[in-house]
Symmetry: C2
Subunit: 208 residues, 2 copies
């Protein structure tokens, strides 16, 4: 293995540890020394690889925000009606939220923070991209007289709010659904339960 490859692996390892820590404790709650200990690397490696703590944080956001983005070819299939499209897209979000829990937590912490104004706006804008896709599908459903009227922005908040609170709620959330720990909370069974529920939400709120 080449030195640069090994270097990249170590860099990735640090990023992975940082992601987990930021998700748990927030940006200000994670010191460079804690990160160095948890990742088993020397303190100086953070500056060496990333320049600064903040640059590392931004790199995590930049690298991972794309994973939360929905961009699937199937949605362009004209045979699918808006309801089917919506179910498809929400299924995908549940899937991604359940497999990128750390990122979901970081994104929400960032959005709900007023510390790094520019960054918050950037992350918010990325989320808005996701929202607008859903919005257009719902509006299409209106035009085709398939959906009843609802408050679209608030309904989109409902969709994301439900998933956000599920992923971010920790003890409160996983005790609610009767899971005994985080692992059980995020297993396939609970993921499918969420998908089923989200579909019922869409059906009840939109279908005539």
């Amino acid at each position: 293995m080449s030195a640069s490859t090994k270097g990249l692996e170590k860099k990735e390892h640090i990023l992975e540890c940082a992601k987990k820590l930021f998700a748990q404790k927030g940006y200000d709650g994670v010191s460079t020394r804690l990160l160095a200990n948890e990742s088993g690397t020397n303190l100086a490696m953070i500056s060496y690889y990333f320049g600064s703590k903040e640059d590392m944080y931004k790199e995590i956001l930049n690298k991972n925000l794309i994973h939360l983005r929905t961009d699937i070819e199937e949605l362009k299939n004209p045979k699918l009606n808006p309801c089917e499209k919506l179910n498809l897209i929400v299924d995908l979000y549940v899937e991604r939220f359940f497999t990128n829990t750390n990122m979901v937590q970081i994104v929400f912490k960032e959005i709900s923070s007023n510390k790094r104004e520019g960054l918050s706006r950037f992350v918010s804008a990325k989320m808005m991209d996701n929202f607008s896709l859903i919005e257009s599908i719902i509006e299409d459903g209106f035009k085709k007289k398939l959906f009843k009227k609802t408050d679209i922005p608030l309904f989109i908040m409902t969709i994301f709010g439900t998933m956000m609170i599920y992923i971010n709620g920790n003890y409160a959330s996983f005790e609610m659904v009767g899971a005994k720990d985080t692992k059980e909370y995020l297993n396939t069974e609970h993921k499918e339960r969420m998908k089923t529920y989200m579909r019922s939400l869409i059906k009840n709120q939109l279908s005539k």
Copy 2:
């Protein structure tokens, strides 16, 4: 005005500033010096009044958590059916969320944090109290065959998740609903809009 009264007023003023700052930047994002500047007091007053930064934070939580609690006599009125009760309770939550935005933000930051384990569990438990009241009303609706079946824990997350993301979402949220700033975002018009929407959510998800 007596010295002790004046002292209490100042103490309250510091608490009020701290609440706002913690809501914006999180516990670790607010230094005692920043708080001293923003509140126009001397740095030493924080220790003088509260003992420590953490004790002050806990005092904020203890003093304000009660405000998010729902405990109204009207709910015991047997003439109200479960749906009316649910509308009543959700109206109340919207009202409280809109008038205690700082506290909502702090509570959610605390719940979604893994930094102060004991405190997170404490705040989570307080929220669970609120959930259980809603849960019992929905279950009552089932028994009386007024409600159709749904995933109650997830529906409760939907209710709180929608309001949480509205209050916590900052730019992302208030741009979505077409508000130009925070003030407009939280005005009576938008509050009533949220109430109307929440009622539709309850009706569509629960009413047969």
